[in-house]
């Protein structure tokens, strides 16, 4: 039987990696991801997990080692954050283009300069277009669950794409929470062994990541993109199976008190819970407000988003990243694009807040929602609204 224990979320992530019988972990320690790999190296050194821990000299090497490991058909895990994710950037593309399944936990962190080890989504947005499946977790249980879920999705031979599991730096990684740790048999019966269809094998040699001149590059990229866009049913199916097996269900877009809501606030990641507190307060005051949580960031859940916001007048989107010189925050821009073709759609108002680990308190969410309702009445907001900066 599994058991519910008080545990730091980072350690719970490592425990999940252990329960998945991971074969290879290649990682470089970087704040706020450090506790995940530290604990994994202990688990492996203590013989609790029969895996290879590759101590690499940088994140670029971590991802490169993971590429080789996944290509060999080994169940592969890595974790990183902020600058580390940026350092591995070019190799991150290879994993998805070569259709190599692996799981990477990203302890979301702001980017330098100025140097900040605290959480926001700047690192995520810089790898937005790398072709990885990307999910956001709101709490520790979700982070634990999504490691197990991610291996099954990534290795599903109808999918074969790598998965990033995003958990906010410090807000999740360094918090002790009561988390239900599943037992091995239960995880084993959910997660079949990795059956990578074309592993590197001297008896049956193949070339991976080969060269492509202009005459074929477009066809390959289109094939990759068609495949990526067609995996949504398998992603959803895996969540459904997870729900049946473990009793905790997830969806690409989730809502909180959203039925009959006139104004919705959209969050991604750990601030979802704080926003929910604000929603409760405003509901008690009689305001028809609700919440939309974007769990699946890539592939973007267009249909699910449209369904979730149908009927609302205003949609306030919180971004924890600036798209420099661009149209505000990346999430708000995508949400606007996703809804643009709808004949009836809510007014989308985008705010940027919570940068570099700055807290957003429930009262500030309330103020954000109240301001959003006013701004939406004007029909649009300024292009880039950064909240909370002392001026």
């Amino acid at each position: 039987m599994g058991k519910r224990i008080g545990i730091e979320v980072s350690l719970a992530v490592s425990e999940a990696v252990k329960l998945c019988n991971t074969d290879v972990v290649a990682a470089y320690p970087i704040t706020p991801q450090t506790h995940i790999v530290e604990h994994l190296s202990e688990i492996i050194a203590d013989g609790e997990l029969d895996a290879e821990f590759i101590c690499v000299e940088s994140e670029h090497s971590a991802m490169s080692a993971c590429l080789g490991s996944a290509a060999a058909g080994a169940r592969t895990f890595t974790a990183t954050a902020g600058q580390g994710l940026e350092l591995m950037h070019e190799a991150v593309y290879l994993a998805s283009s070569m259709r190599l399944p692996m799981v990477m936990a990203v302890a979301n962190r702001a980017l330098s300069a100025p140097l900040s080890v605290w959480g926001d989504h700047s690192d995520v947005m810089a790898v937005r277009d790398t072709g990885w499946i990307q999910v956001f977790c709101e709490d520790g249980q979700e982070a634990f669950d999504h490691i197990i879920w991610a291996f099954r999705v990534a290795e599903d031979n109808r999918v074969l794409f790598p998965v990033m599991v995003h958990l906010d730096g410090f807000h999740l990684t360094h918090v002790v929470e009561p988390i239900y740790i599943e037992d091995r048999e239960k995880v084993d019966s959910f997660l079949p062994p990795n059956r990578f269809p074309l592993p590197l094998d001297p008896k049956k040699p193949v070339s991976m990541g080969t060269f492509a001149p202009p005459v074929i590059y477009t066809e390959i990229k289109k094939a990759q993109e068609d495949a990526f866009q067609s995996i949504m049913p398998h992603i959803v199916e895996c969540w459904e199976k997870f729900g049946k097996h473990f009793g905790r269900s997830y969806k690409p877009v989730e809502t909180y008190r959203a039925e009959d809501a006139e104004t919705l606030i959209m969050t991604m990641g750990s601030y979802g819970e704080t926003a929910s507190v604000a929603i409760d307060t405003l509901r008690a005051k009689g305001l028809k407000v609700g919440q939309v949580k974007l769990r699946l960031w890539r592939p973007f859940p267009f249909k699910e988003l449209r369904d979730a916001v149908k009927g609302a007048k205003n949609l306030i989107v919180l971004d924890r990243c600036i798209s420099s010189g661009g149209p505000g925050g990346p999430v708000a821009s995508e949400v606007r694009s996703a809804l643009y073709d709808e004949p009836v759609r809510p007014v989308v108002v985008g705010y940027i807040s919570g940068l570099g680990g700055r807290d957003i308190l429930p009262e500030q969410f309330e103020a954000m929602i109240e301001r959003g309702i006013k701004d939406a009445a004007k029909g649009r907001t300024e292009r880039m609204v950064i909240l909370g900066a002392r001026e």
């Binding site: 259709r99 193949v206 991976m208 001149p213 005459v215 066809e219 094939a223």
Partner: protein, 96 residues
């Protein structure tokens, strides 16, 4: 290769035929080609060693020949041949 469509692309663009790059014509990049003067050739094999596309073959008699399918006209053979047996000429002017 030009006929490969999106449907033909294997998952991950894996190449499962060893040596598959052999079928790739590097020769169509060429804007100049090496013109060989056998009389100056001393059969040393330096050009054969230096050609980055393995486009130079050594014949049975020890003289060399250029495989047009792969020769991309880089001029390395002409530069490295110490007897000057190769001269690079723009396409269309080779015969002059």
């Amino acid at each position: 290769m030009a006929e490969i469509t999106v449907k033909d692309v294997k998952t991950g663009f894996i190449v499962d035929t060893p040596g598959g790059a052999k079928a790739y014509r590097t020769g169509d990049w060429r804007s100049q080609r090496p013109v060989y003067d056998q009389d100056r050739c001393v059969k040393c094999g330096v050009c054969y060693l230096f050609c980055p596309d393995s486009a130079i073959k050594i014949k049975e008699d020890g003289y060399v020949e250029v495989d047009e399918f792969y020769c991309k006209g880089c001029g390395i053979c002409a530069k490295e041949c110490w007897t000057g047996a190769f001269e690079m000429k723009p396409l269309g002017e080779e015969k002059k």
